[in-house]
């Protein structure tokens, strides 16, 4: 049985000086552990020795405070790729656009771009809308209609500068006033740019009688262009930074989540059974098989032939998995109704269904009588014979001694011994930890 054990090549799982601290409490201290492929390795020790904490660390529930866990030579975490950066930027851009929309007052933007065209009765064209959009960001004066009269208004519609019966006249007034506003804008302290040069305005100015517009209104209109642009950019940049940083922060925190570890090929059972207790036994295993079932949401909604086939195959596989642990007769029972020992075996079937190469069993024989524990030991050996490596926490010493290739003993978070069952049994420190020192 011990033939295939031993540290030949890279171990399947390599735990390197892992320490886990909870506040001031050290649960696991500098734990080194190698699990060779195809073996059964047991982790034993008195209660509170940190065995389950070590398990949680391997399966990604806790992050180690220091040290590393490597599976097939790789750290189990999502890698930081170009995709991560692009995703963060995309979310940031979306946030930025949202912020910018709020900053430039999307309500008035809508008025200027969509509604004003409708009010003046122009047919809606893309180029017309783009022109009005540019006009809004240049804070240009515009024309709209109310009660049959044409009004010259500021881009956001908040200032009405003139009211005319005739559209042509209104257009001339608009151009003339625009020239005035632009003149103020290009005064001392600002630099004119290409968008400000409006040849029409200069030509039209002398032809019409201009309405009296207060100086401060003209000043405000002149300042409108830089204000709205400044706001828009500020919103965009703030949103971009906030959104990207937030996305990266969330990504970082979920980097070593249990599902990443599970997908890499490590599955586990729990000390306090965590089945989906209201689902049927079969469904529990189907959840374990989740990753192996192909097809997306739409094939599911349309129930394509491929989808039906995949579901049928998964059911078949689930029955086989249940057969392996001896539960195929209970496939349609509710998982929570099963006896305790069967629930533990169902958890094992569910974990195996994920197609894991390493399975962590946390006290699988807890609460079983010696005969049931013996059956369970047989099951664990059969799992190993399928080519699945087993890391085990167990208190039943005859189970541990019978099936383990190697045993590591933890006490107060520290590994005090490691070796074959025979070696561990003779170890002074182990005897001391279990039976107490002699003084």
């Amino acid at each position: 049985m011990n033939n295939n054990a031993g540290p030949a090549g890279t171990p399947l799982l390599h735990v390197d000086r892992v320490t886990v601290r909870f506040g001031g409490l050290v649960a696991v201290s500098a734990l080194d552990l190698d699990v060779p492929e195809g073996s059964i390795v047991s982790l034993i020790g008195p209660n509170g020795a940190g065995k389950t904490t070590a398990f949680n660390c391997v399966s990604g529930i806790y992050a180690p405070s220091s040290g590393s866990v490597r599976f097939r030579g790789k750290r189990l975490e999502r890698s930081f790729t170009l995709g991560t950066i692009l995703w963060a930027l995309a979310v940031g851009l979306l946030t930025g656009l949202l912020f910018a929309a709020a900053a430039v007052d999307v309500d008035r933007l809508w008025l200027a771009v969509v509604k004003r065209g409708m009010i003046t009765g122009e047919p809606f064209t893309m180029s017309g809308a783009m022109k009005r959009l540019r006009g809004y960001f240049r804070s240009e004066l515009a024309i709209d209609q109310m009660a049959g009269k044409w009004r010259v208004v500021s881009a956001d519609g908040s200032d009405v500068l003139a009211i005319k019966r005739d559209l042509g006249e209104a257009t001339l007034v608009r151009d003339a006033l625009q020239a005035k506003v632009t003149a103020r804008r290009t005064g001392p302290g600002t630099v004119p740019d290409a968008t400000d040069l409006n040849p029409r305005a200069a030509a039209a100015a002398p032809l019409v009688a201009l309405p009296v517009v207060k100086e401060e209104v003209l000043d405000r209109l002149a300042a409108g262009k830089s204000r709205i642009r400044w706001r828009g950019w500020l919103g965009l940049i703030a949103g971009l930074l906030l959104g990207s940083a937030g996305t990266l922060a969330v990504w970082q925190r979920g980097r070593r989540s249990p599902h990443v570890v599970a997908r890499a090929g490590i599955s586990r059972t729990f000390q306090n059974i965590r089945l989906f207790s209201s689902m049927s036994v079969l469904e529990n295993v189907l959840v374990g098989l989740d990753r192996t079932i192909p097809g997306g949401v739409f094939s599911m909604l349309l129930r394509t032939p491929a989808n039906r086939r995949a579901e049928a195959e998964a059911r078949q596989k689930a029955i086989v998995a249940l057969d392996f642990v001896g539960l195929s007769g209970d496939a349609n029972r509710i998982a929570g109704e099963l006896p305790y020992g069967d629930q533990r075996r169902l958890e094992i079937a569910r974990a195996l269904a994920t197609g894991a190469k390493l399975i962590l069993l946390d006290e699988p024989a807890a609460g079983m009588n010696p005969s049931e524990a013996g059956d369970l030991a047989g099951l664990v050996e059969r799992i190993r014979d399928r080519g699945v490596t087993v890391l085990l926490i167990e208190h039943h010493m005859n189970v541990v001694m019978r099936i383990s290739d190697r045993i590591a003993v933890l006490d107060h978070g520290t590994k005090i011994a490691e070796g074959t069952p025979a070696e561990v049994r003779r170890d002074e420190k182990v005897i001391e930890a279990y039976l107490g020192g002699e003084g």
């Binding site: 529930i61 065209g117 989540s257 599955s267 089945l275 349609n332 929570g336």
Partner: protein, 370 residues
């Protein structure tokens, strides 16, 4: 509607074996067939009653949307009405004559559903780490934010006036000499069938969801998030999928609502009350159960929008209440009856009127084994 629902309640409790699943499918078909024939047999459905029943169907769709979140995935959502509202407003913006887009109902509905799904994702993504009460507060807040935003974006949404007139589906489309738009406007039965068809489609989709990989993942995350993750299920993605699906279906209900009223109504139509009403219907009928949800809506909303007005007009006809005293009218007692009924159901049937098989097991065992 209610008679069909009642006959469904009296059916034996569902065992989990294959043949029954087939029969349950058939029950749905029987109900569907009865509802499809009803307008041809009952002339009242061509009048105001038809509109009320259509409204009921729309609420059913909304409740099924909420059921994805609350029933399957176990995420408490108190803002479903906001997605209902977003769907209604997006449809209105894309179709009202006030705006230049004026695309057809179908295209607008597709866009509205996509927009609501996107909004759902945008709400879900930053709130995924919250659970229970905290998520409830976030969704409650989101509902209020949407309502106030709709009210304040006056240029876009028309403020308290809402957007109208939303043209009926098929406006300007003529099929075989029938002007569909005109027909929709004249005869409420067209809307009745449109809503019924949409409801049937949503029920079918939900049933398929339940028996699919994604549906199982939703329930697994509800039951035990950590164990689901240890099985390689990304809880993040599953919850986002729930958010997106729920919002999309609620958006579809919103589209039908706005089109059937031919206005979005004012933003207060999408407030907390509506969210809670739908949540109550889902809980009353049975969390995570499709027939339960439908029955819950039929009882609660049917009581509110069909039975109560009918009883009022009957009392008025009988002339028992000539002074118009509120305690002598049926509507005056509406909320009291509502409350007492909810208390009684929660006391004697906490799992709902037609519980889902899964949830019934959970409550019976008190979650034993976990």
């Amino acid at each position: 509607m209610s008679t069909n629902q009642a006959s469904r309640t009296s059916a034996p409790p569902a065992p989990s074996t294959g043949p029954w699943a087939f029969l349950a499918q058939r029950w749905e078909l029987v109900t569907l067939a009865a509802l499809a024939i009803a307008p041809l047999v009952i002339p009242a459905l061509g009048g105001a009653l038809g509109g009320q029943v259509t409204n009921l169907f729309i609420y059913c769709i909304l409740a099924l949307a909420l059921n994805v979140m609350v029933g399957y995935t176990g995420l408490v959502h108190l803002g479903i009405a906001s997605f209902f509202g977003i769907g209604a407003y997006v449809l209105a913006i894309l179709t009202v004559p006030m705006y230049p887009f004026q695309i057809g109902f179908l295209a607008a509905a597709v866009i509205a559903v996509l927009v609501t799904a996107g909004t759902g994702l945008a709400l879900g993504a930053p709130t995924l780490r919250l659970r229970g009460d905290y998520l409830a507060i976030v969704t409650l807040g989101f509902g209020e934010v949407v309502k106030v935003t709709l009210r304040n974006l006056e240029q876009i949404t028309g403020g308290m006036k809402g957007l109208n007139p939303v043209p009926p589906p098929g406006a300007g489309v003529t099929v075989a000499g029938i002007d569909l738009g005109k027909e929709f406007a004249i005869d409420p039965r067209w809307f009745y069938y449109l809503a019924l068809l949409s409801l049937a489609g949503v029920v079918l989709a939900m049933r398929r969801l339940e028996n699919s990989r994604l549906g199982r993942a939703l329930v697994a995350v509800r039951e035990d998030e950590l164990a689901a993750q240890a099985m390689g299920i990304s809880a993040t993605k599953v919850k986002l999928a729930a958010f997106a699906m729920s919002s999309a279906v609620a958006g579809l209900a919103g589209c039908l609502y706005a089109a059937s009223l031919s206005t979005t109504a004012d933003p207060n139509a999408y407030d907390f009350n509506r969210s809670i009403m739908v949540l109550c219907a889902v809980i009353l009928g049975g969390l995570g159960s499709i027939p339960g949800t439908l029955l819950g809506v039929a009882i609660l909303v049917g009581f509110d929008t069909v039975l109560a007005p009918w009883a009022d007009s009957w009392i008025q006809q009988m002339n028992v209440n000539p002074k118009g005293l509120s305690y002598l009218s049926f509507s005056g007692w509406r909320l009291a009856i509502f409350g007492v009924a909810l208390v009684l159901v929660m006391r004697y049937r906490p799992e709902g009127l037609i519980p889902s098989r899964r949830l019934a097991a959970e409550l019976r065992d008190g979650g034993a084994g976990s």
